[in-house]
């Protein structure tokens, strides 16, 4: 698999324009913090989410034509902080605070929270009625995360004490293929994309991804990069794993119903079995273990879990609403300038 390297996408407004223009130049020249950002709906703000996604992407991978030294350049970090502020506030508004009872048993609370998940029935819809085109759109959206699956939560590893760290490693080792690049989940996803005739190159569909899709990834990157949010990152991972095995079986069924072969369904089938293992470790050994050792982050663990469910519901609603209107859920390809 080739090295990950993305192109700077087209800007979607003044923030991304400012940022991308600066990134093409030498680090720390020409990038001024934008000041307080007034965004009505930060989760659906195309300009804000794209700028944030690119600002974060520098920590994951290279961007063609961008000096790698930008990664820890103060002016970029200050710019990014202004982008994070309204997004963090919007997420905080969506998430209800944890109760005393929930904090007393984080593992049980995670079970209850994820069981109540009230998001729209996206996986059930795709399993029973979705068209191939809709399934392909779903895969394209998910490629924003799935081609770097597990990476956002790996940043938490050095920040944990031995028991939760061992639990996180037990999950991540499996995510990364247990020592086999071929079995790495991000590689399996690339194979699924290929089998479906999609471009598996990292970042190939960035231009087509709407803000809400980028927001699902920006949430986990933002939590993963900050040590103070280690609880939320762990809670996010736990809820992700706990809501994964059943939908993934449905996505596999959707592809089978649409006549796709095992090459295409393998990623989903693998996740049914893998996440049936991971969800227990993540809820009880990782999240429960972290809460037992650092009770002060227990509330943030549950924040991360609820934030994941909220943003996934928002994203799934976007897909279902777009299809209901007979429209694509992706951004239309950019018009070729005359």
């Amino acid at each position: 698999m080739a090295r990950r390297l993305i192109d700077l996408p087209s800007p979607r407004g003044c923030l991304s324009e400012l940022l991308f223009a600066a990134l093409e130049g030498p680090p720390d020249e020409g990038l001024e913090a934008p000041g307080a950002i007034d965004s009505g709906d930060p989760i659906a703000d195309e300009d804000l989410q794209l700028a944030l996604y690119v600002a974060y992407e520098i920590h994951y991978t290279g961007i063609r034509g961008v000096d790698e030294a930008w990664e820890w350049t103060p002016s970029l970090l200050a710019f990014r902080a202004e982008l994070e502020r309204p997004f963090e506030a919007a997420m905080a508004e969506l998430v209800e605070p944890a109760s005393e009872q929930e904090l007393a048993s984080v593992g049980a609370a995670l079970q209850a929270i994820t069981a109540e998940d009230a998001g729209p029935p996206l996986s059930r819809y795709l399993e029973t009625q979705g068209t191939l085109e809709q399934m392909l759109e779903h895969v394209v959206h998910r490629s924003a995360y799935q081609l770097k699956e597990a990476d956002p939560h790996s940043w938490v590893i050095p920040r944990l004490s031995p028991r939760p760290k061992a639990a996180l490693l037990e999950v991540q080792t499996d995510e990364y293929g247990g020592g086999s690049a071929e079995r790495m989940h991000s590689v399996l996803f690339a194979k699924t994309m290929e089998a479906l005739g999609l471009d598996p190159a990292y970042g190939a569909y960035l231009e087509r991804m709407p803000a809400v899709t980028l927001a699902t990834v920006n949430l986990m990157t933002g939590l993963g990069l900050q040590r103070r949010r280690r609880g939320a990152s762990v809670g996010h991972l736990a809820a992700f794993e706990m809501t994964s095995s059943i939908p993934n079986r449905r996505y596999g069924n959707a592809l089978r119903r649409l006549g796709c072969d095992r090459e295409a369904t393998h990623f989903y089938d693998e996740h049914v079995e893998a996440d049936a293992v991971h969800e227990n470790i993540a809820a009880w050994d990782l999240a429960g273990g972290l809460a037992a050792e650092e009770p002060e982050v227990a509330a943030d663990i549950l924040f991360g879990a609820r934030a994941l469910l909220q943003i996934e519901a928002r994203w799934a609603t976007h897909l279902m609403d777009s299809w209901e209107r007979g429209e694509t859920s992706l951004r239309e390809p950019a018009a070729v300038p005359a």
Binding site: G107, A108, Q111, A115, E170, T173, D174, G178, R183, M242, S245, I246, R249, V272, E273, A274, D275, A276, V277, E279, N280, I281, W284
Partner: protein
């Protein structure tokens, strides 16, 4: 340093998770009753405990749909 006399195998542990499957760790092999090995690719596996998985003996998460409840520890005798 590698000790040639050190036994590399690790004991098998089976852990029932609350309201969930049995997780099996260590140097285990899963065989059917006739002795045929059921291939497993991961180091930790989950065996179905609710009986409703669609890929028994392995867990597929179905216990969450059927409201399976069981403690991690041993259940008490009636009247205990």
């Amino acid at each position: 340093m590698v000790d040639p006399n050190h036994d590399e195998s690790s004991p098998v542990t089976i852990t029932p998770y609350p309201d969930g499957p049995y997780l099996v760790r260590g140097d285990f092999v899963v065989r059917d009753q006739a002795g045929n090995e059921l291939p497993t690719e991961r180091r930790t596996i989950a065996l179905c405990r609710c009986g409703k998985s669609r890929m028994r003996p392995f867990c597929d998460g179905t216990h969450k749909l059927v409201g399976f409840r069981a403690p991690s520890g041993r259940e008490p005798w009636p009247g205990d």
